[in-house]
Amino acid sequence: MARIDDTLAPTGAWLQGPRFASVLRACGRQLIAWSPVIVLLIAWEAVARSGLVTPFMLPTFTGVLERIATDTASGDLPVALGMTMWRALAGFFISAVAGIALGVAMARSRAFNWFFDPIISIGFPVPKIAFLPIIVLWLGFFDLSKITIIVFNSIFPVVTATVVGVRGVEKELIWSARNFGTSERALTWDVLLPAALPQIFTGLQVTLPIALIVGILTEMAMGGYGIGASMQTASRFADSLGVFAGIVEIAVVGYVLVKLMSLLRARLLVWHPEALEPTTA
């Protein structure tokens, strides 16, 4: 109760309270953490207004923000964002489920490993986006072909992270479970996946931006609704404000997704020694 009284106190006592001080400190920390980005944006604005470059080459940051606001109000941005996110996230989830399943199978079965290991080794460094023309011929221009390309690109980090993670599970941990009568099948859920989760999650954190990037590339190459497609259209009409708006939108969306993943990681891995260490940023 005392806390509520504090915040309602009209005398300004709250402003000197310890809570206010800690809020101020937190704001200060955030400001310091974000200052490089703020400096960059100010530099952008300054260069764009200085007359060194034409507005066509580099529109102002404030102009870009205005454009994002009008696109949001008109409904164009929500639709584009929705389509991009749907395909990127669908591709990401398919990659996650299939990649973890394949990774566990490869780590536990010689036959699976024999068959898939060389395929994964060759496939990982190949630029899968190069298959785009063929995929278009096979699957058409729409979501199916885009999501397929996303999965092709983003499944590899998940598979390799899962293989390394599951192979690294201590023998004694597995024996411990077997000692309590755990079957081979139950072992996967009871021991292998939770024990390998730190590595598997790292693989997922690597792959989520890949899914987003590849999703935007497919839109740029194939059209359809989406942020990448809007940027491509804007570029075609020499609408540089539209192109820069797309870049800012992708940066924000990417940042939010990456941040959400690290929050989820902290949630899921409370047991891990990493959770006891101070976090960065």
Binding site: W175, R178, N179, G181, P194, A195, W271
Partner: protein, 265 residues
Amino acid sequence: MAVNGAQIVIDRLSHMYRPPHGKPVLAVDDVSLAVGEREFLALLGPSGCGKSTLLYLLGGFLPTETGSITVDGKPITGPGPDRGIVFQHFALFPWKTVRANVMYGLKRAGLPRDEQEKRAQAFIDLVGLHGFEESYPSQLSGGMKQRTAIARTLAIDPEILLMDEPFGALDAQTRSLMQTELLSIWERSPKTVIFVTHDVQEAVYLARRIAVMSARPGRIKAIIETNFDRRDPHLFKSKPFVDKVDEIWDLVRAEAIKAQGTRST
């Protein structure tokens, strides 16, 4: 060497350890041993002598290839909750709390949830971890981790307790406390215990019978009976105890030197 009334009978057991890269090594060589019900036996030997391998064979974690091991007349075909194991590095599930770790074996045994909780609590209390039920292993000291592991294994009430240098990773004070506690737990509910160690004093203090193993390939070099009043606070300084430790040390020392020799080649 079939012994009437023995619970565990190991008969002419040999085991080849095959590393993924490198030559196969004979880890256990023609070992025969009988262990009676509720006996406390120590397997003592220099590091790398195959005593842990012998324990893993008993646990069913490694396949028996040459010779045989039977428990109550039945050959071992794999791991099972009748033989609970405690590892040197605890092997706790780090993503589970102390309570969930202790409950795991009970869940696998198919006990109803409330029964699991009651039984887990009883064993957490037994090992003195009351108040730490919701802690994760990463938040515990080495001694507390090993207490959790012991509670987890005791909770499933195995007939046989296999212990692989369980106090080897603990500091000297914690180790000595844990030894006393293990004895008091064992006296309250006697089980067959096979306790692997390279610490002579620990073996003499805990076990009723000590199987001294030779350097690799591991053979049983001698079997020595011990019987001391473990409650005597001056036991470690008493003449018979010190003499016994010295006598066994002489046996082990020769093997330890041999083990050093084979290691450096």
